[in-house]
Symmetry: D2
Subunit: 391 residues, 4 copies
């Protein structure tokens, strides 16, 4: 029982990715160079493997040194992929790896965070087109003038509708039970920020027996929160009655020292927003802290102890497994279908950011519909996506 | 479209009662006299009709003058049943009708409330056995020495498990939306009393978007309320934050003038407990009141207006339809199966109160299981329940 | 207890509309002519009354002869509003009333359905601008070349997010319990169409104990349905196992004779989509029918009976109360805030259809936030919306 | 970060147990000998520690060699408790340890499983009274004639109402997501057995997006399942459509080879019932198996692969953490309050099995109510439970 078995198990639970990959790898991409800057987690392997099987030259760096798993790198290298990343690599080594990636003169970029495209904006060399998965990356690429097209798939409705609406909330609380070893029954869970992620987090807290309290500035989201059975209160009223506080705003330093001093003894603090700095952990750590169990840090404030979970990093990922395999299957299948579109039609787009065509995820959803029937539908072959070109 | 069509529609949605009735009416009960003191509502008709079809002499009075529907009495009389009840009858006329019922020298009593058995305890004449459906009736019969057996079916688990656990809560809020024309979203619903009825009422309020707050004296029920996602607060803390207050304690005058004066402007007041006097309506009506719409009475208290619903009577019954037909089907089928047992084996029991054998409702549940399959199971014939006799 | 008390009760539960109306009626609109083609239901009164109080000349016709309530017309006339509508008016009389409305040479049109604007497109006379509330009206106005601007508020996120997401589903099933007198426990409810309305209908069916089965052509919505705990099946597989079938597609003749013949004995049929013709009732009525209770029509098909509810019209409105008062408060407050914007800034827009600015509903949501606090916020005065002009 | 910190964290989340322990340890029990046969898990420590602090002589063995944690034994020994148990001990060593325990001539027995009391029934030596926590132990002790009283607390309503009704279901699925790494959305979860545990398991599966299907022989429980929104089907119809199968019957070999051969490819198999043999794992292991990840065993049946989780042992305990700390707090507080009653009043009961008085858990619930207020209630001192004696 090890990495190979885990990969086998992952494959068994990602049938959509398998189906898209089957069509994908039928391409002959010899002579094409593709650079990836992505999380080097096991869930990434099936996508990279499919690209490698086309004969393309594949160069891989990480988008985040903290998430690299060495066995993933080793496995990819055996497949002929060139990888420059390792667990525990320094910031300097990471910056070097990004430079290395661009020096391979890739034709296509495929990223989570936009590091390569941001640099290539100055000197694109052979880059014809790129794709970007994250909101953070999209934000960054809006700041530069791109001399090539980049297709962003962060805002595809199905991808976001499932991940944000359901999965972050679900995995946050299943992980909370595992890590904090306490239930939510009758506890007040204060959710700071009621965007799609906050909505899912509040809904699952309520399903699991909590009384959700929403602190949100936007008045229309306050109305939505009340319709979803949440209490709505200003932050300064909500914090003193909290048993658990979750930040989900996407902004930095939402909770600062003055807020922490309002908390009652025994309150849990966690973050599920995209920034690791929604909780001002530096302010917290002015006070005595000690680690009581993995991911559970006790902070002794003047008025009582609070528990900081996962050091304020994204809780569902840092202390838990992130999206389960069957749910991530949508993400990786859309990713691979989007890559197919990038390779087939990407260079036809004008320079700049473009949304990935919605058809890409409808195609994957069609597979999902077919996967439920006993006779799986035929797999799309190369060229099936050529009708998705720029409008 | 009238009473006959409504009765036909009722029959279509009570297949269990139909199935039990088919076996029941095969009995030859000529010469047997049965007296009923029950609600004279359309849902009662199929049971009384089945008894009349056996050739038994059937005498009917009401257990509550306020629930008599004249078209039900007329219909029963056409079937040869002797009825002494009418809408709007006086208290004196009702007392007379009870005396009349006993003067017919019934062999069996079938009741909701125990009026006849209570009187017959002094002078049973020909009474061999009785059955009783309500907790109130059981309470009353505990106060006398019964010279004949009475089988009570109030506490049969399935009957109570469905009615109390689900149906009172469900119908309370569907009726609330219809009568008060407002939603529960984001409103605090204070539930006073967290027994089975209060639990169902709180659960459905939560499902429909409310924030339930439970006021309950028993500490173990307070714990259960927290596990069910309710806030728990002492009554005097809960009332000032209520948007809706529901009493479900089974006790009288739970909310009195001092409580009403704690309510905020716009609060709704309703009762679903067995007593019509849980809300001290006399104390409320010292203040100016006016009826704004059917079942909605505005009371102008010093601190603001509150709305008294259905004059404090059991809200789901007084302002709404009570149990829906398909759900009442369990009740009337168990009632009829219990009657069969009463007639076959009742006189074999020693004098006093006895629980109706659990087998009676298991038999009905078996029909329910069978009713789902395309080939309905054979119907039990007379005598099939003789093995249910006293232990 | 009558119309005046009901109106008083409505006012008590529409504080947002009251707050917006207070600012609205401070306008001096003497000499301004406004024509309305709207439902003449009690919920419409506060909006029309606010306009009348500005001194504007107000002309009112109905957008649907079937929804006119005479006491509403009488009440409005007493306020000085000119009304040409009555319950039971003929089609010809209705067409005349529309012509009458335009002949009053209105400066502004305010509609649900676009009847007046559609006609005025040929000959606008004095029309400067209009507003439109419904998707049907927007569709119709897209077919003509408008010589004046029309602001549509059908797609405002909060309005649609509450009404479609929650209220249609909620009121559909509370009305179902009231009209059909049966519960949803353990019943398969087939929802045809999984747009926002279908999603709400399926969700509330599930909350109330049903097993929802979704029939939907779009593969991405099929995925969403599975995440929401619904079964997904093709229509021809779903119908034979249905206990209840609800159409919510917005299309006509979605269920036809061939579909009805697939249903099992006892199935309920209802529609909540915008078209009254989603169920092909003509095909149903080839078979014997009879009305068993209000809104419940039994149809004897060869294979068994089915129940057609509300003759296939929009069930929540035709057999039930539509949106409850406190929820409609958002709609009527947004309506009135939109009217203020129309009057202040509408003529500045170029001819054609435009979305109502989102700021209009944010302003109402801000009132909602304020209405919860003990000190209500100050009410906006005339001119407060002038910064909402065309982009 | 280690055992001491974990114990500190446990204490922080078990305030009820702390409160009861404070009163308990005030006893002077020098000269009293108490033998325990219990799980040697960290959650057991606070109870044993409280007893040791009274000066009593404490002898500890395990009730299950598979659950012994060595650091727990070491810690207890430091407190002066005599422990005879270690991780990996053989069956023979375990039997020896039970004999050792009785040879210490204990006055009181405190058990989970009844091993010591069963043996002591033959030769009680100095045993005055015992207490028993489990249904299995109660079953076993019914088979012998006990020469001393044993108080059983398995059936206390609050303990069972929380653990069975909520916690098994909750922890089963949070553990499932962690171990199987897949979600429940849209999956059919077949629950075999619909007692209290099965009800909780089905309810939480439904909350997390599954379609629950109940296979249950008892017709009244079938009715309850339908009211809870579950499909009900005979086992042989349910299995071929399952994505997940959970046994919760308390019986052995409920699923046998013939059943396994009905499953579709990819089905998960797990057990939450008290017996580790509800799934006939021997029959499964005739086919090729391999461990793919911890607790996930792939079995290659002729028709496809299935996944056996936690080798068929109680899934929530064997693959997960069991009850969370704050919920177990009720259990350990009731345990300790029961121990107080055993020591004070146990010997006054006649020989044989008796239910623990309900007052014991009401007392703990009262603490729970008090623990919510800012001023904790006073702690009961020795003797406070003497009014709980035999009726």
């Amino acid at each position: 029982m090890g990495f190979v078995e885990e990969l086998e198990y992952l494959r068994q639970h990602t049938p959509l990715t398998r189906a898209v990959a089957e069509g994908f790898r039928a391409r002959d991409l010899r002579g094409v160079r593709v650079a990836f800057a992505v999380h080097l987690d096991i869930k990434t392997v099936p996508v990279l493997q499919a690209v490698a099987q086309t004969g393309a030259e594949v160069f891989v760096v990480t988008c985040n040194p903290a998430t690299v798993r060495d066995e993933v790198c080793t496995y990819l290298q055996k497949l002929g992929v060139q990888v420059r990343a390792w667990a525990g690599m320094s910031e300097a080594a990471w910056q070097d790896s990004l430079t290395w990636g661009l020096n391979q003169r890739p034709h296509f970029l495929c990223e989570m965070g936009g590091e390569l495209a941001f640099r290539a904006a100055q000197d694109p060399k052979d880059v014809r087109a790129g794709m970007e998965a994250t909101g953070t990356g999209v934000q960054r690429l809006r700041e530069v003038k791109l001399p090539f097209p980049v297709l962003e798939w962060n805002s595809l409705p199905l991808k976001e509708g499932l991940h944000n609406r359901y999965l972050v909330g679900l995995v946050t609380w299943t992980t909370f039970l595992h890590v904090a070893r306490v239930t939510l029954y009758g506890k007040r869970v204060v959710v700071v920020g009621y965007g799609p992620v906050g909505q899912g987090v509040a809904e699952y807290a309520r399903l699991l027996g909590a009384i959700p309290v929403v602190a949100e500035l936007s008045p229309d989201r306050q109305v939505l929160a009340r319709y979803a059975g949440c209490e709505v209160a200003p932050l300064h009223d909500a914090l003193p009655m909290a048993n658990v506080v979750v930040t989900a705003t996407g902004r930095e330093r939402v909770l600062q020292e003055e807020h922490f001093l309002q908390l009652q003894d025994g309150t849990f603090l966690l973050n599920v927003g995209h920034s690791n700095r929604e909780l001002d952990t530096e302010a917290l750590r002015k006070y005595p802290t000690r680690l009581l169990r993995p991911h559970v840090e006790e902070v002794s404030l003047p008025q009582g102890r609070v528990y900081l979970l996962a050091a304020g990093a994204m809780f569902n990922l840092a202390a838990g497994p992130g999206d389960p395999y069957d749910a991530f299957d949508f993400t990786s299948a859309i990713w691979l279908a989007g890559l197919a579109h990038l390779l087939d039609a990407g260079p036809n787009y004008p320079p700049g950011l473009h949304p990935m065509p919605r058809q890409v995820e409808l195609e994957v959803a069609s597979f999902a519909a077919g996967a439920r029937s006993s006779n799986p539908k035929p797999v799309p072959k190369k060229g099936s996506t050529t009708d998705l070109g720029p409008a």
